[in-house]
Subunit: 813 residues, 2 copies
Amino acid sequence: MRLSSSLLFVSSIIYANGVLSAPSPDPKAAWVRQGRARKAASKNGRRWLNETSTPPAVSSCSGNNYTRITAPKANVWGGLTDVEAASVTKWMFAQPEFNLTLSDDAGEWDNTILLVELMHPNKTDVLYYLDGAGPAPPRYAHVVLDHRACEDPYYEDILVGPIDPSGVNNGTTRWEPLEYPYTRKTAGRVRNLDADADDTLYSQWIYKISATISDITLDLWGGTALGHDNDTLSIWGIDPLWQDDGRVIRWDAFWSNSVDNFDTQTLLPLGLYFRSDVTGRDPSQWKFEGWYYNGIFYDTTEAFKNAYYTPGFAKLEANVEGDWARTDQNGPVIPLDTTPPPVSIAPSGARFSVDVEKKWVKWMDFEFFVGYQRDTGLSLWDIRYKGERVLYELGLQEALAHYAGQDPLQSGTAYLDTYYGFGPYAFQLVKGYDCPAYATYLNTSFYVAETTHTHLESLCLFEYTADYPLQRHSTSNYVSATKNTYFTIRSVSTVGNYDYMFSYSFYMDGSINVEVRASGYIQSAYYANNDEYGYKIHDNLSGSMHDHVLNFKADFDILGTNNTVAVVNQVPISTTYPWSNGKARNTMKLEKSYIESEDQSRLFWGPNSATQYSVINKDAVNQYGEYKGYRISPSLGAIHLTVEESSNLANAARWATHDLQITRQHDTEPRAAHAYNNQDVHNPPINFNTFFNSENLTQTDLVLWLNLGMHHIPHTGDLPNTVFSTAHAGLSFSPLNYLEGDPSRQTVNQVRIDYGDGNVSAVETFGQEQGSGSCAVEYTPVEADLWDYKGDVVVRKFPFDPNEPFYETDSIV
Amino acid sequence: MRLSSSLLFVSSIIYANGVLSAPSPDPKAAWVRQGRARKAASKNGRRWLNETSTPPAVSSCSGNNYTRITAPKANVWGGLTDVEAASVTKWMFAQPEFNLTLSDDAGEWDNTILLVELMHPNKTDVLYYLDGAGPAPPRYAHVVLDHRACEDPYYEDILVGPIDPSGVNNGTTRWEPLEYPYTRKTAGRVRNLDADADDTLYSQWIYKISATISDITLDLWGGTALGHDNDTLSIWGIDPLWQDDGRVIRWDAFWSNSVDNFDTQTLLPLGLYFRSDVTGRDPSQWKFEGWYYNGIFYDTTEAFKNAYYTPGFAKLEANVEGDWARTDQNGPVIPLDTTPPPVSIAPSGARFSVDVEKKWVKWMDFEFFVGYQRDTGLSLWDIRYKGERVLYELGLQEALAHYAGQDPLQSGTAYLDTYYGFGPYAFQLVKGYDCPAYATYLNTSFYVAETTHTHLESLCLFEYTADYPLQRHSTSNYVSATKNTYFTIRSVSTVGNYDYMFSYSFYMDGSINVEVRASGYIQSAYYANNDEYGYKIHDNLSGSMHDHVLNFKADFDILGTNNTVAVVNQVPISTTYPWSNGKARNTMKLEKSYIESEDQSRLFWGPNSATQYSVINKDAVNQYGEYKGYRISPSLGAIHLTVEESSNLANAARWATHDLQITRQHDTEPRAAHAYNNQDVHNPPINFNTFFNSENLTQTDLVLWLNLGMHHIPHTGDLPNTVFSTAHAGLSFSPLNYLEGDPSRQTVNQVRIDYGDGNVSAVETFGQEQGSGSCAVEYTPVEADLWDYKGDVVVRKFPFDPNEPFYETDSIV
């Protein structure tokens, strides 16, 4: 896939580069301490020569990687162009009121730009453009500023625009606070609890505290965490910080550093924790509040030391890295495993079409636009089936990983991952592993520190044929069967320890599936006293229980925007019938109802899967009198949060409490969460609860907010990594009385065999291309190709330097 | 696959051949009227020449279809040999007390043999053989007799044996009633409600009643159901029959016959029903009890006719077959659909081993024996993982399809499909559609009417590589990913209108999945007055609501037979911690408990998937102190029956009421249901409720009875056929603290790429065979091969005629 600048889906991320004397290689888990801080963009990366990469290493008899098409409309969610991003950045630096410093040069008391990306236009305006005669909505940049040159640092969301095709126009471009999409009305400003996390927190606080007990860390673990190059320990803590009673409280813990290249640190907790009150920006006003070790809280270092040096004090052993924590091949090789396993090939190349510039995709009777943003990564827009919009928007909103434990670190951890962002961590995919080798791979991009980073080959698009048919029926004289070939678009974001795989799949029966799978490293707990919070999975390790809950927005438009949610319950009944002799019969029936308002629209899947939800259009009645619609059902499991009224989250993730929630669509409620909800959990910029204000939900524009996820109680099988095969969740959206029959009857990839008495009289293949019979297929094509793995490409936006791209990939380190 | 007599897994089926003037081709739905009646074995089939079939038409660079191995022990579930079955049949005919007639010659008042198959030995005896020094258990035949030469006809289960390798020995072979595996102690005898269903019922009753209103059927539908060759209508009714108050009551309905080869009759109900009391064998004592039409019950034909000929009587229209009911390609062909879609190939052939004679399979670290029986089809035995037994037995027990409706036919229908049998209807699979073209296909066999029928290529075994990896993790300097290649054994049984696909899959992480998918034709309802029981899906058609519930036995033996079921609940809590300043925190924890007795062992999955069940061994503690076990969880959805205290079922399917039920293993409780439970629903031969008698379940031999299924409210998308993509259910059995880590680390089919600055420094492939780079693969190999479809092969057992096999395939017609 040749990298094209038109593929630079602009997004953004800001994070630290971990220069605080962290060991090399950086332990990933150190990301927690650095949060979403500044990025000193390195130019040390190898120069990217914009070379043409190898042609798709398909296991294919055809070089056809996709058919080129032209989208009928602009992709209004496609991101800023390079020129636009550069011009907005330049314009921002020209506005004196922002007092901006280049990220490379900025310290903790400087203001910087965190994000420049395309502001999604309002649905109202977009529909006027897509469906009516209206022009494309004007383009605005969504800019996030990090105001740290003040005692009360804050983030600020602003809009900059309108942006002309050639960039901002100094005569007409303005900025304004971005407030309307947030439920909190504070002019787009949110406090920043991490302003000093880059340097001061560690140099002036964490390491000094660690130094007071270096005798103990040396005695227990033979190492220290002092901010030195030879540290063998790291310190990091809870997220979100405690924000009760007007204070900002940290809990930090000691972890062993990985001893090699493997990203093992979250498997190496040491069981010692300390609490700090870090309210305000003056470290001299911060308060050390005590140690916690092996179930006992010591409110001073003296008390802890006294206990430690008292004979009989129980010293707990370290968790020590070993092959058990490394992902490489390990254990006896099974003889037949060394030969290549089955592999899917695409003998005729890609059977779908892409407008690469406009990111518009068409497979069979489905078509959609692709969007990509810093916070949430991949999203799909204007999903149409047989020419009619089914979903205006479908995409991730937020991902919560809520832990629990007897220790303050696990108990205090409830990651809201869009703070880190899914866009920045959607790494290059591994051909033949993450997706088929023959897939079409596209790039994605995000803005960070006056540069645009491009993830090469970070989206994959492919068809696959399931191991089972879509349809079949046998009798003694014929058999009919249909191949189940589906289309998937996928990205994988590794947000720290976890790899989340997002797959959107489309089927010949008109259904759409959304699937999330989780692999990567668990965040484990020190075992002591945590037996009610997980299994003991290694020497001194607890598989810390946690809930993954991922919220998705599904803005259905079934044959128009005015829709209703229907509820069909299958219920047991005892009733008489005209024919039952007056005798009651125990049987069942359907109870049909509708969700009438937001007072009744926060729902659960219900016991025994006996409740079926669908989005229907009461004005779109089929020829048999039934409402046309799409059914919404869990397919691979779907959960909501176990914790009720979480002390960690307060109001920051109110979307997590139910399975399926329905609101009336408003341009002012575009997203269920804000990336900075964790900075002010009691009064977050977006409190999902406030979406529910008794509005009528009958035949109006509806949005479904759907949770996917897994309850995860890690066991030994999660070492070294959780496996995708069991950590999964999925939803299915399937046509319900939407068409006259099963649309998969259209496919020619079906067969009917007429037979009898051992003879076949017909093999009907309905015009399938019969081909020449064979083609040469590489069956170990993948490894050679993997030498082309590149990572990310970076292009500087301010000063704009489009001709000197270079390679640099950053994970959360 | 060359057909080998050693593959003749002996099983049995008895059913009618539909000679009662049914239209040609036979409408499938007519099966309901014929039940499990006699089979007049035809010899009209084409002679089977035992020719060698074409070699596996694999999309493969290797001809290796499987590696030959030798099982360490005999397969004691593998069925009778041809010689054994023939000798038992001959011996039976030599016993005067049975008064047997050859099936071909038998009438309704003759006794026949319905089944001759291997009796599964008791687990106690088998373990003594497999694990100890004991001999293989003696072999017995399970014979089912159909005693119809009497006023009170009955089925009789008996045992015949022991059987020597050369067959029965007239000196030592005895028969005895088979009673111990059944909860009802009636010497293996169960009444036969269908004794007269072959002929008398129709000729003396159904058609005569139909004739009384032929004026109406001609007026409404232009046809008649009189038992004539030119009938365009069929009549059939409820299953089970009503069995209340000592009476046997039928409801029958009129259906249009299919007008072509498509199996459409269950889509063509006509909305007219009649009730008969058919108690006893004397038709002169039977009573006609009334008509039901369009919501009104008429207790006499005169009343119905009077109403019908009253002006203003509402005449309802027929459901008329058309392309909407046919499965062939239909609708516009999508241009890119005509080229071949992606297909899976096996470049190195099969990477598993089979002992074809003993039906023993080994894939990676899994191995198991294959069993096959008339009632339940495919089952797996002695499933071992890494040398240790995990499951002694895994297989289907019964499948219920419980309908509901305002009309008596739908309301009265609750099929218990082992009555018809899953073994007889596991048809030849369609290569490249039902399973990959490269799969290994094996035969299965069943006994019927003094013959053995062999389904050619009716089991498939294959590896597949999922479209997503098993594991992955990315950082900025390396990425690790592992292929998710799994192994599946599959069969498909078409029991009348529905095609059930059963897949047992094994994964590199040690997990085992059980999946059921449903396709084929729905049984629909006439629309009138059924709006509370389904959607209107065609002109006059209701998609009749129904529950599929399929019970599976999973006899786990985790590191020995003494096991316990652990329950781990994730619960929200509010609690203080030593470090929380006395402040309560809202969080969550685990509540661990155990199922102690059969008083508490009938379970539901529980809300929000927050309850995790596992089978553990308290005497098998891992090095970290946790119990080794396997977790049991729904993966693709799993339901229990909606109806409570079903009037149709009474005590015949008490297994359907919960999701997961646990009993103590007893040789006397081998199966949850009996094929004749529908013949005496109030007092069935096996009443699952009686398995629960307060026995202790701590560290004893446990059996899990697990329900899979779907609530099905058919919509237009179920026409013409239900699709597998949404009609599915699945369970996952996955290791829980069973090993020290994730066993998939053993595979070489993983990669680690080390990279940075746009360069790859290592692509570690762990010894994967790198191959020559390419091989020729047929990419449209399937259609040519489908001309080899054969259907079933029949070999006569009495008189034994092994040298004249012939082709004949029977569906339920």
